[in-house]
């Protein structure tokens, strides 16, 4: 299931049929997605699903083998400077120059962006509790993440690309970072694309959600649509089932004995009929949590 593609003026990022191999391994296969302006776009996927590769394509650091990538309507590998000047990026490994001091780093980065807002950067720095004279290498992991976010936010970019912004951080720092991102989103017209494993965050903050599995798009759409269309059923069988029952339309089946939990992507009517065939009845039906959707999709790898 995927969004009907919006017109190119709406989509800040338009990826169409992107494929990329690294040697024999297919990192991305026929990936298409459109990020509407002003939305918060969540990217889910297990490690190695291709999230970072996709983001690198958006930055112009990788050239697509097949398909096209357009950011702000421009090709990032050709108009690199124009694209990079309008987006802010926070990499998974932060990668800030370890030898610089914070005030040096801010002065250095400010030179690249004419729209750098010094007052805003200063207020962010104060809020994050970063001392201007400390060297980046002496900062803790959380402080480095906050600094990276500060550097990406200070010039108010139109698009924010965040690769696992909260990975490896304690809850306090995670809260600070999320807060800063939401504040940025609340301002007009800013678009955020972020990839994360922390499904709790993804669910709270995203408007749209895409899941990648083994380089393919498993589903892509508005968050509530995704959640509504994935149902979690609890089926109670008359007789204890020895093996997991194979039900039509089921993405994953787990449980034991007489009660089994089934996650399916819509089509629960067919599932109910099939279950009745096998002697089971649906006792509970709810929209599945993102966690269950992720596990069901990642394990099975069905393409919808």
């Amino acid at each position: 299931m995927s969004l009907p593609s919006p017109s190119s003026s709406d989509a800040v990022v338009a990826v169409n049929g992107l494929s990329r191999h690294f040697g024999a391994k297919a990192a991305l296969q026929e990936v298409s997605l459109y990020v509407p302006r002003g939305s918060v776009f969540g990217l889910m996927g297990e490690n190695g699903a291709g999230k970072t590769t996709l983001i690198k394509h958006l930055l112009g650091l990788l050239r697509p083998e097949k398909g096209t990538v357009r950011v702000f309507g421009l090709d990032p590998t050709v108009d690199t400077v124009a694209v990079l000047g309008r987006l802010g990026y926070l990499s998974e490994s932060r990668d800030l120059p370890a030898w610089m001091r914070i005030n040096e780093l801010l002065r250095y980065t400010a030179g690249f962006y004419p729209k750098w807002d010094h007052a805003y950067a200063e207020s962010l720095r104060h809020q994050f509790g970063l001392r201007p004279s400390s060297r980046v290498r002496t900062l803790s992991k959380g402080e480095q993440a906050k600094l990276g976010l500060l550097v990406a936010l200070a010039y108010r970019p139109e698009l924010l690309l965040l690769d696992e912004p909260s990975s490896g951080l304690d809850p306090l720092v995670r809260h600070d970072i999320l807060e800063a991102i939401i504040r940025a989103v609340a301002e007009e017209g800013r678009t955020v694309l972020f990839s994360s494993h922390l499904l709790d965050e993804v669910e709270r903050v995203s408007d749209h959600l895409t899941m990648l599995h083994q380089g393919r798009v498993v589903f892509s759409g508005p968050l509530d649509q995704v959640k509504q269309s994935h149902r979690r059923l609890i089926i109670h069988f008359d007789t204890a089932q020895v093996a997991p029952p194979r039900l039509e339309g089921a993405l994953s089946v787990s449980g034991g004995g007489r009660e089994w939990k089934v996650v399916c992507a819509g089509l629960n009517l067919a599932t109910a009929v099939h279950a009745a065939h096998l002697g089971g009845v649906i006792v509970d039906e709810q929209s599945a949590t993102l966690d269950e959707i992720f596990v069901a999709r990642a394990a099975k790898g069905a393409v919808s």
């Binding site: 939401i182 504040r183 989103v185 609340a186 709270r204 903050v205 408007d207 929209s287 949590t289 966690d291």
Partner: protein
């Protein structure tokens, strides 16, 4: 205004906000005429998408629980609008189901349960203002 958002509830986040605001109004912790926090502030506080908060506020306005004054914020409605009966029963039905399941598990009779309800209501009486 303290709200608790849980993502494992199965209930959409905006719906949770709506439900909790309504409960706060019903319990008297939000007075009529009191201002609700702006969308941005609440979004930052709860760390949820501002659109979700906006949607919740819209729902509340549609249900009549709050009124939006043009450019001046969102306020709790003066007259407490009655929720449709169906809504009320739906909200309470889940709680009752959980309560009954617990009672059954603990082998407490229905009569005893009703007696307990009456006792607890009596204790709670002074808190809920008429």
């Amino acid at each position: 205004m303290q709200l608790q958002i849980s993502t494992s509830d199965g209930v959409p986040i905006y719906q949770q906000i709506v439900n909790q605001v309504r409960y706060l109004i019903a319990a008297g912790r939000l007075k009529p005429g009191e201002e609700l926090p702006p969308i941005r502030v609440l979004a930052e506080q709860l760390t949820v998408n501002p659109n979700t908060v906006a949607r919740a506020y819209l729902e509340l306005e549609r249900a009549g629980a709050v009124t939006k004054r043009h450019g001046a914020g969102t306020y709790v409605s003066e007259a407490r609008q009655a929720l449709p009966q169906r809504e009320k029963t739906k909200i309470l039905a889940r709680r009752v189901d959980a309560l009954l399941a617990d009672a059954r598990h603990l082998e407490v009779e229905l009569n005893e349960l009703i007696k307990l309800l009456r006792e607890r209501d009596a204790v709670m009486q002074p808190e809920v203002k008429p």
